[in-house]
Symmetry: C2
Subunit: 195 residues, 2 copies
């Protein structure tokens, strides 16, 4: 895996790693195939053997981001209380926390550049967090904590709230606000309104 010969060993992973590095310091605009190849110490055309085009690279980075997001969410939920409402609020807080901790990566995930045609593995990675959220809302609903609200609707609203708060935070539209607290209290208020 570490033979510095002609064949890299695991260039795809190395390219993704380099892409994350470039992303953190230069934003999406810095994510050029050539720059990634340069950072990985490889020729400019090598990435094309692993990613069909620039959009595919960006989609792969985004998919990796969703995977990390989901992993962190699972870890956070493991330490959360049992009450579904409280777990949902903790999830919202954790989601916004991820956004704040990985601004460039999250911006990429929500980037217009991916909105065009769908990418397979990206869709799969993005589906995991959504499914886990839906399960939590269903549990709350089953426990009689959401009145007769439509679970899918509540899930979408919660997600939108967290997504919006995070994006506003990293775009500087919420200066001085404790966005983590806002995510938690907002989710609680929204859920309370449905009780």
């Amino acid at each position: 895996m570490s033979a510095p010969g002609y064949h890299h060993g695991d260039l795809r992973a190395a390219l993704l790693d380099a892409a994350l590095g470039l992303l953190e310091q230069g934003g999406v605009a810095a994510l050029s195939l050539r720059a990634v190849a340069r950072a990985a110490g490889v020729s400019a055309m090598a990435p094309y053997h692993h990613f069909q085009d620039r959009a595919a690279l960006i989609a792969a980075v985004a998919a990796a981001g969703y995977d990390r997001l989901h992993a962190e969410k699972l870890a956070a939920l493991a330490a959360a209380p049992d009450d579904p409402i409280a777990r949902l609020a903790a999830g919202a807080r954790n989601y916004v926390g991820f956004v704040i901790d990985n601004p460039a990566l999250y911006r990429l995930m929500a980037s217009p550049e991916l909105a065009g045609r769908p990418h397979e593995d990206l869709a799969k990675s993005a589906a995991a967090p959504a499914a886990s959220l839906a399960a939590l809302v269903a549990a709350a609903r089953a426990a009689g904590q959401l009145g007769n609200a439509d679970p899918a609707a509540v899930a979408l609203q919660l997600w939108a709230l967290a997504h919006g708060l995070g994006q506003m935070a990293i775009d500087g539209h919420a200066p001085g606000a404790d966005v983590l607290a806002l995510a938690e209290s907002g989710a609680l208020a929204l859920l309370k309104g449905y009780r």
Copy 2:
């Protein structure tokens, strides 16, 4: 204003118009200075006399978008009931409606490409909708409809909800959902939770 001579007359407006057209059919990626110049029937370098660089053009388009958003909001609020809560819900619905009607434009407004350094007129145009929202929330709070909640917090949460719902709708993350209804009911639930 329509003299087809050497001097265009109002090239800046024509360029912005062409940019909107390109945006609708090709997304942000299609917004190159050369393409805009081509669409306006002018030399490739002409736009540089009206926009410092590509980012400035994008910022100007975004500012125009915020202006339109604010204008539509004012029009929608004129026909809304007097109750602050109902007006806030109507505002949320209208916001999401704008996003759905102008997907490419809204994506541009929330684009990472603007997140770097701030642009003056963009900030000014973006501030108008925020101020109008803050005023509405303050009115609701003054009418005793929000308990002792922090108005700034509630405003941010409402905005985040609408922003998130709109973005999810145009990104295909809410297939088959009536996002307009979700915006309205979500805003109502959130506000109800604070009562």
